[in-house]
């Protein structure tokens, strides 16, 4: 059975393009032009992934994300324009899985959907505990971090930060989510903690901290641990 994608997008051209592009890749695509239509479709036949455009005519999509998160763990990829930073972060904090900035290429979209699907059900099944990419290897079960086969010693906070990103590998994690999960909910405004600790962590993990391979910055939004 092919995977079902719900595309919520009000622009006809982009909707048609997404439909044909995703169909070619073997997805079963359904489309909705508004938040209300999307909610109706969701109740009727829940898909496996949602691609949600920001700035729909009848709402900003936050309610939709809340509604989906009440019943489902299915991944949501938000599509936004460049100037919709605040709204995008709001949706990510509300439970959306990832985002794409318009204009984006097919390649980027498929990569995001693949990562989102890989995480599907992690809330129920065993979470990601092992991450290996190039020279980096993180095993959360063994509490070990290695670079090029050599063990790296991290402070407890550095480790918590890295572990949080490993659990969402490939997906963006917002500043707020990181601060809340690593330091606690009362620290969500202290972004300078993140800057300082991410600097330290990169110095230990990255070969060239100035141009990171693993710990990627999503400017103004959060961080992402590279999956590929």
């Amino acid at each position: 059975m092919s995977l079902r994608i719900l595309v919520v997008e009000d622009d006809r051209e982009i909707r048609a393009w997404l439909q044909s592009t995703l169909s070619v890749e073997g997805f079963e695509v359904r489309t909705a032009v508004s938040v209300s239509e999307a909610s109706a479709l969701l109740r009727h036949a829940p898909p496996d992934v949602i691609v949600l455009d920001l700035g729909l005519p009848d709402g900003d999509g936050v309610e939709l994300v809340h509604e989906v998160r009440k019943h489902h763990t299915l991944p949501i990829v938000v599509v936004s324009a460049r100037h919709q930073e605040a709204q995008k972060i709001q949706l990510l904090d509300a439970g959306a899985d990832d985002y794409l900035t318009k204009p984006f290429s097919v390649g980027e979209l498929l990569a995001r959907i693949r990562v989102a699907l890989r995480h599907r059900g992690t809330a129920l099944a065993a979470a990601v505990t092992l991450h290996a990419l190039d020279d980096l290897r993180v095993d959360l079960a063994l509490h070990s971090v290695q670079r090029g086969g050599e063990t790296i010693h991290l402070t407890p906070t550095e480790y918590k930060l890295l572990a949080r990103l490993v659990r969402s590998v490939g997906r963006v994690v917002t500043h707020r989510q990181l601060l809340a999960d690593v330091w606690g909910p009362e620290y969500t405004e202290h972004t300078h903690y993140l800057r300082l600790y991410m600097g330290q962590l990169r110095a230990k993990v990255e070969v060239d901290p100035a141009e990171p391979r693993h710990l990627l910055t999503e400017t103004g939004v959060g961080y992402r641990l590279a999956a590929v």
Binding site: R82, T191, H192, R195, P209, E211, T217
Partner: protein, 499 residues
């Protein structure tokens, strides 16, 4: 109101009478106590003392009464024959008269002194009030706020209820509903005549209140009404005028500032509009033509085109369209930044991180890794909008990649409380006479047919300025250009010791 006034008056009279009685009783008692030891003259002095005290503390009518009473009482108790109102000796008669005269003179002098002291105190208080009002008005930002300050000042300076009204846009006064219509008429009248009306002004002296206009010829902003005015109270009227002038000046100043702002906004809006039009004509039309051309060729002649040609056209569609996208982004961002109400989303950021993220994007167009990045360790954090700073650095790097065939150096350093990010290329040096215009929208340095970032540098400078920083261009030793972004460093860094 009237009865209350009368009863206070009665109370005052009773109190004054009581004071006089106490003073005279005291003097009489002392006189009897010292009767055996002192002469009649000294006893008279005791009464004079009582009169002096009365003159200094009570109103002049009461003190004159006190003087007469003192002479009478002194005559009755002490002047022979005692216990009568008769005077036996001529010398004693003279003593009595002298005493009365002394008492009256002292009373007069004391009363004058007291009046002067009171006037001086009142003047000081008024000067202080003017000063306070001026200070308050300078920090007020709206007409209602200024009106409230003026109302409070008038109410505290005069026995109310004073009325202060501002002019509406239609020229009429914005009067309170419950106001008596004659008062409103008076206020309108003084505003029309631009003169103070009421007692002591020579205009409408029959009124019992002052009507003062706010402002001068050409810019009246309202009027004030001060009831229970006295013709002889010149200083009070002057004070009222001073308060009104102060208020009018503040209102006028605010009016000028706001109309200046409106004019500025209008100019800015027109500038933006022309910038935007220039963007469309200059930077959007050509790539659009290329996209439409390539796409229509593919649509109409696909079968005749070789696969290589098809690929080239598809590639051109993608690259032209992404160019359009970046021009659109830059234009929109510039418009947003020029809109002064737009706030920056500042946060504590690490410049190394921002540059790293920019490089991750720009490297796609830099396969030969021509950009060399040097960053020292332990750089301070900066409070900036990361998306904008990333856009700025990205634009500079894109430009450098486009114009310079050789290595591009990207360096970061701190100096003089600034964080400096420099992008240095080896491209053709920009002529120095073009420096002032290069950061303005649409003044690209070349006419070679190669497309520039259009608004790119204008946006870069706008971003730098919005952060309180600068973006400067210098020729580079050995050829090429050096763009330097300098951002002010916060005087206080967030603590490095954290949980």
């Amino acid at each position: 109101m009237k009865t209350a006034h009368a009863s206070t008056l009665n109370l005052l009279t009773v109190r004054n009478g009581a004071i006089v009685v106490v003073l005279l009783l005291g003097a009489t008692a002392c006189g009897f106590l010292l009767d055996q030891h002192i002469s009649l003259t000294s006893q008279a002095m005791l009464y004079v003392l009582a009169v002096v005290i009365a003159s200094y503390t009570l109103r002049w009518q009461v003190s004159v009464l006190c003087a007469v009473a003192a002479v009478t009482v002194f005559n009755f108790f002490f002047v022979p024959p005692r216990w009568t109102f008769e005077v036996e000796n001529r010398e004693h008669l003279i003593t009595l008269f002298t005493m009365l005269l002394v008492a009256l003179v002292i009373s007069h002098l004391a009363a004058r002194l007291r009046r002067e002291t009171e006037a001086a105190r009142l003047n000081a208080r008024r000067a202080q009030q003017l000063q306070a009002l001026a200070t308050d008005l300078s920090s007020a930002t709206s007409a209602p706020e200024m009106k409230a300050l003026g109302q409070t000042a008038l109410d505290s300076a005069f026995d109310g209820p004073c009325v202060l009204a501002l002019q509406r846009p239609d020229g009429a006064l914005d009067l309170p509903m419950e106001l008596v219509s004659s008062v409103g008429d008076g206020m309108h009248c003084c505003m029309r005549e631009l003169a103070v009306l009421g007692p002591g002004t020579g205009r409408w002296p029959g009124l019992n209140a002052w009507y003062l206009p706010l402002g001068d010829k050409g810019h009246t902003s309202g009027a004030a009404y001060i009831p229970s005015a006295q013709a002889e109270d010149t200083s009070g009227r002057e004070h009222a005028q001073a308060l009104c002038t102060l208020l009018a000046q503040a209102l006028w100043r605010m009016h000028l500032t706001s109309s200046m702002r409106v004019a500025q906004n209008e100019t800015q809006r027109q500038q933006l509009q022309s910038t935007f039009l220039a963007a469309i004509s200059h930077d959007l039309r050509t790539p659009l033509a290329a996209v439409v051309g390539a796409a229509s060729s593919l649509q109409a002649q696909r079968d005749k085109l070789s696969p290589e040609e098809q690929d080239r056209m598809l590639g051109s569609i993608v690259s032209e369209a992404s160019y359009l996208s970046s021009v659109t982004e830059n234009t929109l961002q510039l418009v947003q930044l020029s809109n002064s109400s737009q706030e920056l989303h500042r946060d504590w950021e690490s410049i190394e991180e921002i540059v790293g993220a920019v490089l991750a994007r720009v490297r796609q167009r830099d396969p030969a890794r021509r950009i060399q990045f040097k960053v020292p360790e332990g750089l301070p954090l900066i409070q900036v909008d990361p998306v904008l700073i990333a856009q700025l650095i990205g634009n500079l790097l894109d430009n450098a990649l486009k114009y310079s065939p050789a290595t591009i150096d990207l360096t970061v350093c701190t100096a003089e409380h600034q964080l400096r990010v420099a992008v240095k290329d080896r491209g053709d040096g920009i002529p120095e006479d073009m420096y002032p215009t290069i950061f303005q929208p649409y003044s690209r340095g070349d006419s070679s047919g190669q497309r520039g970032a259009g608004l790119g540098l204008a946006l870069c400078r706008a971003i730098a300025t919005a952060h309180g920083g600068t973006l400067t261009l210098r020729p580079r030793a050995g050829g090429g250009n050096s763009f330097t972004l300098a951002l002010p460093l916060a005087s206080e860094q967030p603590p490095r010791e954290i949980p």
